[in-house]
């Protein structure tokens, strides 16, 4: 196994030091390290962070390998600075059995670019009618701990209560896609001025807020862990703030796109901006950014959602919702938060690793810890070209935008997955 010596690199924003990576772990940290056998990476001006961890990735395999595979999505993740991703369950077949989650887990191991941690479906076929075999998925080789019907809301309050209770047996967590389905029938974009102007059916903020309010009360009632996917509204932030103040065991994520893009993007009717939950208003963005800074929102998660060209190159209403995110998330975070490295590490690595129970991830580089880390050039600026992305799909909303930051290198257990900004395999 090759050793790597990264010189004069800032670890999570601290004064520059050297990092020696050997045998899968951080061997040494300190000034003026020498290691004649090591490959040297000049880290001057670069920042090392614990490898990023994504709680919300769609890898599309099995079922839509034309849009993404575990391997292509893993490569995109590594290029984005990630060392672990949680793969959502809405594949075909749905990841609602031990067999499917083990398949995804195994494909992740074979790709070997990031740790792929499958998320299991809460209900059979994501149909919202009866519980999937949550225990079997938890006991499988994939050791599933997060369960989600993402893409669909577990709308039935009794079923949601049971799910929250049931997973306590193995310290599981229910990640809810908060969307009251009766309030969003046919919904195409955020309900507001722009939806009125464009004649597109609105997705009202209250449809998200009402479910989050219900779910934090349920989680409080049964003493369970709840995770709220892709929080998108100022009202949701207030519901979460109050729940956390009461001690409810709730965590929440926000996507990069909900931190940056508003519903006005829909004016083009280009479905690359169609996503669920939809892009909201500038006021929502301000509330989400504030909540990310003060901890009401715990995590930035990408909701990386690859879609084939034909599913986006069509009328808005017929397009599938979702956008790519893995290869641009760190840049958006840097753009939105500035070089607040400790906060970025907290929201994109340490906290998501803790929520997902991924030991060995989300740990700052220090002697003896697994060498899961990423190295960033914060001074670089890059213009996003969809054709250059490693994802099989091209549906990035940031095409032609110039964003700060570039991933220079990523290491998974001491092995480089990215060097010189390029995927190693």
């Amino acid at each position: 196994m090759t050793a790597y010596l990264i010189t004069s690199v800032s670890v999570v924003g601290a004064a520059p030091t050297d990092l020696l990576i050997r045998d899968g772990v951080i061997a040494e940290v300190g000034p003026d390290l020498t290691a004649p056998d090591a490959t040297v990476i000049d880290g001057t001006g670069l920042v090392a962070l614990p490898g990023l961890v994504d709680l919300h990735t769609h890898l599309r395999e099995p079922g839509r390998e034309d849009a993404e595979t575990v391997e292509s999505g893993s490569r995109a993740a590594a290029l984005g600075g990630y060392t672990a991703v949680c793969a959502m369950a809405n594949t075909s077949p749905v990841a609602d059995t031990a067999g499917v989650v083990e398949q995804v887990w195994r494909l992740g191991r074979e790709a070997g670019l990031v740790d792929v941690q499958p998320i299991g479906a809460v209900t059979v076929g994501l149909a919202g009618e009866r519980l999937a075999e949550l225990g079997a998925m938890a006991d499988s080789a994939a050791r599933v701990r997060i369960f989600s019907d993402d893409g669909h809301c577990v709308a039935d309050p009794k079923l949601m209560r049971r799910a929250l209770e049931y997973v306590k047996a193995f310290d599981g967590i229910i990640a809810q896609h908060a969307e009251e389905p009766r309030l969003t029938e046919g919904a195409q974009m955020h309900e507001g001025e722009v939806s009125t102007r464009l004649g597109l059916i609105g997705w009202p903020a209250v449809a998200e807020e009402a479910i989050i309010a219900r779910d934090v009360l349920l989680a409080e009632h049964v003493g369970s862990r709840l995770h709220v996917c892709h929080v998108s509204t100022a009202g949701s932030v207030e519901v979460l703030r109050q729940a956390k103040a009461r001690g409810v065991r709730v965590s929440a994520e926000v996507t990069p796109h909900h931190l940056l893009l508003t519903d006005e993007r829909a004016e083009s009717y280009d479905p690359v901006f169609k996503v669920n939950p939809p892009l909201r208003t500038a006021a929502d963005i301000a509330a989400l950014r504030a909540a990310l800074a003060d901890g009401v929102i715990d995590v930035i998660a990408t909701d990386h959602a690859p879609h084939a060209v034909e599913d986006k190159e069509c009328e808005w209403a017929y397009a599938r919702p979702g956008m790519l995110g893995l290869e641009t998330a760190l840049s958006i975070a840097l753009d939105v938060l500035g070089p607040e490295w400790d906060l970025i590490a907290e929201r994109m690595s340490r906290t998501p690793a803790r929520i997902a129970g991924l030991t060995g991830h989300g740990v700052d580089p220090a002697p003896g810890v697994p060498a899961n880390l990423t190295v960033i050039d914060p001074a670089a600026r890059r213009t996003i070209d969809p054709a250059e992305l490693a994802s099989r799909s091209r549906n990035t909303p940031y095409a032609r935008m110039t964003l700060p930051g570039r991933i220079v290198a990523t290491f998974l257990r001491g092995e480089p997955t990215v060097l010189d900004g390029k995927a190693v395999k």
């Binding site: 195409q188 507001g192 102007r197 083009s268 009328e315």
Partner: protein, 308 residues
């Protein structure tokens, strides 16, 4: 001149007025024995209709033919569309055939905007989903101007299912541009959120038709589908008609000069009674006639007929 007509908001006051003035000239053609001008000879206009709309399609067809254009009707039924061809592929096909203008009717809001990315010719929105129907707004404005002599300063009530109405959106945009004052009237469930901010500042909303009628020059009744009651927009067709339908007694609350409009097709007995629809105040048949003239003007100006 603009290249496409996708929204009532695409038109500034000068352009809109030019279209209305041109339409007035076109109207004189309709009075001739030979209703035809050579202006668009050799040009190809495609009517691309993804929704059944006989009245709009034949209006555009008549307009194009009176200008001597070659007209191709491409309807979703009996075409490759039902076999699942994408809008983009259809667009590329039309492009390859050399369409100078594509008139599109589509159930999805924004489809004409998408189409405009994929063809070189002009795109005319003939109604997209619940978004807009700009030539309807132009023919409505033409009709108001013809009947009342002006548009600036007019007070126009648009009554009914504004939420789902492409006619209402285009009318609010165009009438505001031309200086008319629009009041939207309907049950709160059928008035979209933030309408004034979304479309035109100064647009009023009222839930009380009776209080609005004495102060308007124009009342435009929108078609209301009975099925909306199944989605709880209102309790019953009967209750809707009682509160928001235009009947004889309500019509008599209008000022003497006020006109009654409807884009058609009407639900007689729902939003409008036969007594009103067939009264001298009603402009419903004129609107159809004016539609051809306005669409002639739009095609003529978009295709640069005035530059030849």
């Amino acid at each position: 001149m603009i290249k496409h007509l996708l929204s009532g908001g695409d038109l500034d006051a000068d352009t809109a007025t030019e279209i209305l003035d041109t339409a007035a000239e076109m109207a004189t053609v309709a009075g001739r024995e030979i209703k035809k001008l050579p202006a668009l000879r050799g040009r190809t206009v495609v009517n691309l209709f993804y929704e059944d709309s006989t009245r709009t399609r034949i209006s555009f067809e008549a307009a194009a033919k009176r200008l001597s254009a070659d007209v191709i009707n491409f309807s979703a039924k009996g075409s490759s569309v039902t076999k699942g061809e994408s809008l983009k592929d259809t667009a590329l096909t039309l492009q390859a055939m050399g369409a100078d203008a594509v008139v599109i009717r589509h159930p999805a809001s924004g489809a004409p905007h998408r189409l405009a990315n994929w063809v070189d010719g002009s795109v005319v929105n003939a109604g997209d989903g619940t978004h807009e129907h700009p030539t309807q707004a132009l023919l409505d404005a033409y009709t108001m101007r013809a009947r009342l002599g002006r548009l600036a300063g007019l007070s126009v009530a648009v009554v009914g299912d504004v939420l789902h109405s492409r006619v209402a959106r285009s009318n609010v945009l165009l009438l505001s541009t031309l200086g008319a004052k629009v009041t939207l009237v309907g049950p709160p469930t059928l008035i979209p959120v933030d309408i004034a901010g979304a479309l035109a500042p100064g647009t009023d909303v009222s839930y009380d038709l009776d209080s609005v009628l004495p102060n308007v020059d124009v009342v435009m009744m929108l078609r209301v589908q009975r099925e909306r009651m199944n989605d709880s927009y209102f309790p019953s067709a009967r209750e809707y008609a009682r509160r928001y339908g235009l009947d004889g007694p309500r019509m008599r609350r209008l000022p003497e000069h006020a006109i009654v409009m409807h884009p058609g097709p009407m639900n007689r007995g729902m939003e409008i009674t036969p007594e009103v629809a067939d009264s001298p105040r009603s402009t419903i048949v004129e609107q159809v006639t004016n539609g051809v003239s306005v669409r002639m003007a739009v095609l003529y100006l978009l295709l640069g007929g005035n530059n030849r």
